[in-house]
């Protein structure tokens, strides 16, 4: 526990030093939501129809783009090696990294979601479903991403390959997340999908750090 706190503090100070970088996923999601009306026209009805989907995809893409940063810096300066040789279990190290990563990349995007919803004329009935599904979904995406990102560590400039590897893994999250918002829009029960995602989250909270630890060891050998 003591070591977990030390890890959290270190990762937080590191993120704090590069806090300008932390704004990037937020800006990216914002820009995607600006691109869409520019491409499809600014008719409120048409935008409202696809608003939830666009916001979900913007979140997904932003999450894919920052995935490489999870381990890259520690790998390059040798700290990852040292962490592997520390008395802390590797899954604990990964859990702390993913937690800080989520707080600094996914949470800001989550916080501006109401703004994005306004920009795209999202119907008010869909907003709670959107926020809740994004909350659970973004955590799921961070955890799944942690497993996949570990595998590409040894490869230089692996950003695109990583995105291609992670995308099929994100499909269920996207389907259930965006699907729940669509159901809410139709007046159908939508919490079921969220519960399903939360069950997945509970499972991954335990499994993903362990799987990511195995993946890291494979990648570093």
């Amino acid at each position: 526990m003591h070591e977990f706190t030390a890890l959290l503090r270190r990762d937080t100070s590191l993120m704090w030093r590069k806090r300008a970088d932390a704004a990037q996923p937020l800006l990216f999601a914002l820009m995607v939501c600006v691109m869409f009306p520019l491409a499809a026209g600014s008719e409120p009805a048409r935008l409202a129809h696809s608003a939830a989907a666009v916001i979900w995809v913007a979140n997904l893409l932003a999450s894919l783009l920052v995935l490489d940063n999870l381990y890259r810096s520690d790998f390059e300066d040798g700290s990852l090696e040292q962490l592997l040789l520390a008395p802390v279990p590797l899954p604990v190290v990964i859990a702390s990294k993913v937690a800080v990563h989520w707080l600094t990349t996914a949470l800001p995007v989550l916080l501006i979601t109401p703004l994005l919803a306004q920009m795209l004329f999202l119907p008010d009935a869909q907003l709670p479903a959107l926020m809740l599904s994004l909350l659970v979904g973004s955590m799921l995406m961070s955890l799944i991403g942690a497993m996949v990102a570990a595998l590409t560590l040894g490869i230089r400039r692996s950003g695109m390959l990583l995105a291609l590897m992670a995308l099929p893994m994100y499909v269920p999250v996207l389907v259930f997340g965006a699907g729940s918002v669509w159901s809410a829009g139709q007046g159908l029960p939508w919490l079921g999908a969220i519960w399903l995602m939360s069950a997945g989250l509970a499972l991954l909270l335990v499994l993903a750090p362990w799987a990511a630890a195995t993946a890291l060891r494979i990648a570093l050998s």
Partner: protein
């Protein structure tokens, strides 16, 4: 039991496997070709036309075996990778990596035959049918594994990393299928099911089974051939390879 384990142990050594593959590859391909010929002829000429869909349903005889193979190969790939990761058996890594392109091709055949089926039946080249959509995600998973394997320099580390991705992928496949089926029912009315309930008359069923067997033998022949090639590539500097095939530059 002991003799089976012994056989596996022995065949698992690179030189023995090379001899084994050399001998059995052509046999498998021969059986596959014969079965394919019988099956395709039966599917096209012998089986009566479907009362609902007419002649175009015959594409099912290619589509269904290919779909089954695409899933089976992914599971085999994940299984072989798991064995390779736990017990560090070189040959299992190679079998897993050799299976990936074969599986990807079967998935592509499934998708193309599905599209070809959709055109005369519903007028579009693509339908967001849950099965086809799951197959598409499966194709991306295969391509991810192939891409990762080719991106890492150290061949064994590459096989281990790609194998691990396959293991995560195999857990993902049923989840994707479940998600996409749910998604399909959610947006009901906007998509159509490609394959109805699978109740086929006996006279229409047997060519399907023949073709299923044919694809299995095709896979066996292919995987033996590809694994043999990967094996030789990896072991090209070893004594036994030089004795058998000469020095490769």
């Amino acid at each position: 039991m002991n003799s089976i384990v012994l056989w596996f142990n022995q065949t698992g050594s690179p030189p023995r496997f090379d001899a084994f593959a050399a001998r059995w590859t052509s046999v498998c391909f021969l059986i596959a070709t014969v079965l394919l010929a019988i099956g395709v002829y039966a599917a096209l000429a012998v089986v009566p036309a479907d009362y609902k869909q007419g002649e175009s349903f015959r594409i099912l005889y290619i589509h269904v075996p290919a779909a089954w193979m695409s899933l089976m190969i992914f599971v085999i790939m994940a299984l072989q990778s798991a064995i390779a990761l736990i017990w560090r058996i070189k040959l299992c890594e190679l079998i897993a990596m050799a299976s990936a392109p074969i599986g990807a091709l079967f998935t592509a055949v499934t998708l193309i035959s599905g599209a070809v089926w959709g055109k005369p039946t519903w007028g579009t080249w693509w339908t967001w049918d849950p099965r086809l959509t799951s197959e598409l995600v499966l194709l991306f998973l295969y391509l991810g594994v192939i891409g990762l394997y080719s991106a890492i320099d150290d061949r064994r580390a590459a096989a281990r990393a790609a194998g691990f991705l396959a293991i995560i992928g195999v857990v993902n496949v049923p989840i994707v299928h479940f998600a996409v089926t749910w998604w399909n029912t959610l947006h009901q009315g906007e998509t159509i099911r490609l394959i109805g309930p699978s109740k086929m008359d006996g006279s229409m069923l047997w060519p399907l089974l023949v073709l299923v067997a044919a694809t299995k033998f095709w896979y066996l022949g292919s995987v033996l051939l590809r694994t043999r090639a990967l094996n030789l590539q990896q072991e090209s500097r070893k004594q036994w390879a030089i004795e058998r095939y000469g020095v490769q530059s």
